[in-house]
């Protein structure tokens, strides 16, 4: 469970081009749910996801992850929380070129110093789960869009996080693949993951898998639509 209270995030503070990307947002994200943030670009969805994912600290306000106050923690512990608690799926896939799909999946676990054989086993299992294990040895440049997306999901799940955060995950996918993506998310939810998605793709927003739809505009929450 993540709880944010009265979060503000100001960029370029004190300068003439100062603006508040998030302006007083309070929200509670329940466990085992899919929450979708919907809104036009520039509405603050991505910034909010970054704050929820412990990537940036808010300018003011408090964040509690599973009851632990994390706003004042130094960066290195945020990294630790990110690594163990969050999996990220990015709009651009952000796979590292020159490396194989398998290595890309393993990257989040590298700093833990776990034995490579056990890392590899876990990564292959994940790739297998998403039917891309035949591509494990290929370089990421050789993957198709759908395969790359699935590798990205596998990477997000590598450290077995409680939360999965996806930013515009379907922006580069066709409808069929987007539907497939939502099915995977539904599957993860039933496994007990909490999923946060930022998207304005109707395929995502209208999916039956979504439990809660949060509308955003100009850094504020405009609507909260609980579907259950």
């Amino acid at each position: 469970m993540i709880e944010i209270k009265n979060i503000r995030k100001v960029f370029n503070a004190g300068k003439t081009n100062e603006f508040a990307a998030i302006d007083g947002v309070s929200l509670q994200v329940d466990s085992d749910r899919i929450t979708v943030f919907k809104g036009p670009s520039g509405s603050g969805k991505t910034t909010l996801l970054s704050i929820l994912g412990c990537m940036v600290r808010p300018t003011s306000g408090r964040i509690e992850v599973n009851g632990r106050e994390i706003t004042s923690l130094p960066e290195q512990f945020l990294a630790e929380i990110r690594r163990s608690g969050f999996g990220f799926i990015f709009q651009q896939y952000n796979l590292i070129r020159g490396m194989t799909a398998l290595e890309n999946v393993m990257i989040p676990s590298y700093p833990t110093g776990e034995r490579r054989s056990s890392l590899k086993k876990r990564a292959v299992e994940l790739l297998d789960l998403f039917n891309v294990s035949h591509k494990a040895g290929s370089r990421v440049e050789e993957l198709s869009g759908g395969e790359a997306q699935r590798v990205t999901i596998a990477r997000a799940l590598m450290n077995n996080p409680r939360f999965v955060i996806a930013d515009e995950p379907t922006a580069h996918l066709d409808t069929k693949l987007s539907r497939e993506f939502m099915d995977i998310m539904l599957g993860l939810k039933t496994e007990g993951k909490t999923i946060l998605i930022a998207s304005h793709d109707p395929v995502v927003c209208d999916s039956i898998a979504v439990d809660r739809l949060v509308g955003m505009r100009d850094g504020r929450i405009t609507t909260v639509d609980d579907r259950r």
Partner: protein, 377 residues
């Protein structure tokens, strides 16, 4: 174990990131190798010469006594030998005749030495391999020497000194006293300098003091001073060369700095991604450290190996023009190979340390990038 695994994992990513930018990093490595190659070549050759000198010159006369007039060498009266011979501890004193001969036809400088025991009959000489090669004359050939009165003296080569000894003998011409005196019209009763044999080297400083006291116009040169001259000359020279190469080193460091600061958009995205998926700043710094290490180690080892091959297998062929300078005679020598830890350590401090220092700040700038930059792109 965890520690090693972590280092290996991070090294994997670092190497991948280096390989992805082959062109850029290869040019850096080439420059780095070149700098190390030059510096270590200089160190190898000067050190090898120093060692050679200190070994070969161990049997040099314990003391040479010269006479100085107005700060310049003058001929020593042979009567001085008797005075010096009376000093306790001096085993023997002998007057030496030697000098230089400038061969105007080909611009070479020979060292002429009188040796009574080797050259017994006037008219014959022994020459160093360098002289023989230069004049393309062999045994039984004749060399004309222009005496100081303008007449020519034709001397016959009796034998050529062995080629293994070229480093000390390339320009030598051994001749008889009669020929030498005739050539330079050197007055009887005078010699170039005096050579002292002293058994107990502990006494050298006492003897030197007595020589100067008895004969105030002389300058004794002890064997220790000769050896020390070599140590100083070569250390100084190689130091000077390194100072000159410092320019090249600086240029290289600027290049390294530039490469390290000029991050491409892709690199930035990559670091952002690593941080987003849970890498700490220190992990990224570690990755950057390994990148630097990979470049340094590869260049360092390659550079040293190439330098060794250059100096000891090709006899410093690249440096030959500089070593030769204006000399016409140049010995053909092979240096005794030598390699030790101090070379490596010094080179390490001259190259790897500044390189690392130059890349710390850029690496840190990279490593402290916001993790959410990957979301915002």
């Amino acid at each position: 174990m965890t520690f090693i695994q972590k280092q290996r994992n991070i090294l994997d990513v670092a190497l991948c990131s280096l390989l992805r930018r082959k062109g850029k990093n290869l040019s850096l490595v080439v420059a780095y190798v070149f700098v190390i190659f030059l510096l270590s070549s200089v160190m190898f050759i000067t050190d090898a010469l120093k060692r050679e000198a200190s070994f070969v010159l161990k049997d040099t006369p314990e003391m040479v006594v010269q006479r100085l007039v107005a700060g310049r060498h003058e001929l020593v009266p042979t009567a001085y030998a008797k005075v010096i011979g009376k000093i306790k501890g001096v085993q023997s004193v002998s007057a030496r005749l030697w000098g230089y001969y400038y061969d105007a036809t080909n611009g070479a400088n020979y060292t002429l030495i009188v040796h009574q025991d080797l050259i017994t009959s006037p008219g014959s000489i022994m020459v160093g391999r360098g002289v023989a090669r230069h004049l393309s004359a062999g045994e039984n050939g004749t060399i004309p020497f222009k005496a100081c009165d303008g007449s020519y003296l034709f001397l016959e080569i009796r034998s050529v000194l062995p080629s293994e000894s070229e480093l000390v003998s390339a320009d030598l011409v051994l001749m008889s006293e009669l020929d030498f005196r005739r050539l330079f019209q050197m007055p009887e009763g005078y010699a170039t300098d005096l050579v002292l044999r002293v058994r107990n080297v502990r006494e050298l400083s006492t003897i030197a003091a007595k020589v100067v006291q008895l004969l105030p116009d002389t300058r004794p040169v002890s064997r220790d001073e000769i050896l020390r001259t070599y140590d100083a000359v070569f250390s100084w020279r190689s130091g000077l060369v390194i100072v000159i190469f410092a320019g090249a080193l600086c240029a290289f460091l600027i290049l390294a700095w530039d490469k390290a600061t000029g991050l491409s958009a892709e690199e930035k995205r990559e670091i952002g991604l690593l941080k987003a998926v849970g890498w700490e700043t220190s992990d990224v710094l570690l990755m950057k450290f390994w990148e630097g290490m990979a470049v340094s180690l590869v260049s360092f080892l390659t550079g040293i190996i190439l330098a060794y091959l250059h100096i000891f297998f090709t006899s410093a062929s690249l440096f030959e023009p500089a070593l030769k300078g204006w000399s016409v005679l140049y010995p053909d020598f092979r240096l005794t190979p030598f390699i030790d830890g101090q070379h490596a350590a010094t080179l390490f401090f001259l190259t790897v340390v500044p390189y690392t220092a130059a890349t710390i700040v850029p690496s840190w700038r990279t490593a402290t990038m916001d993790p959410d930059s990957v979301m915002r792109s």
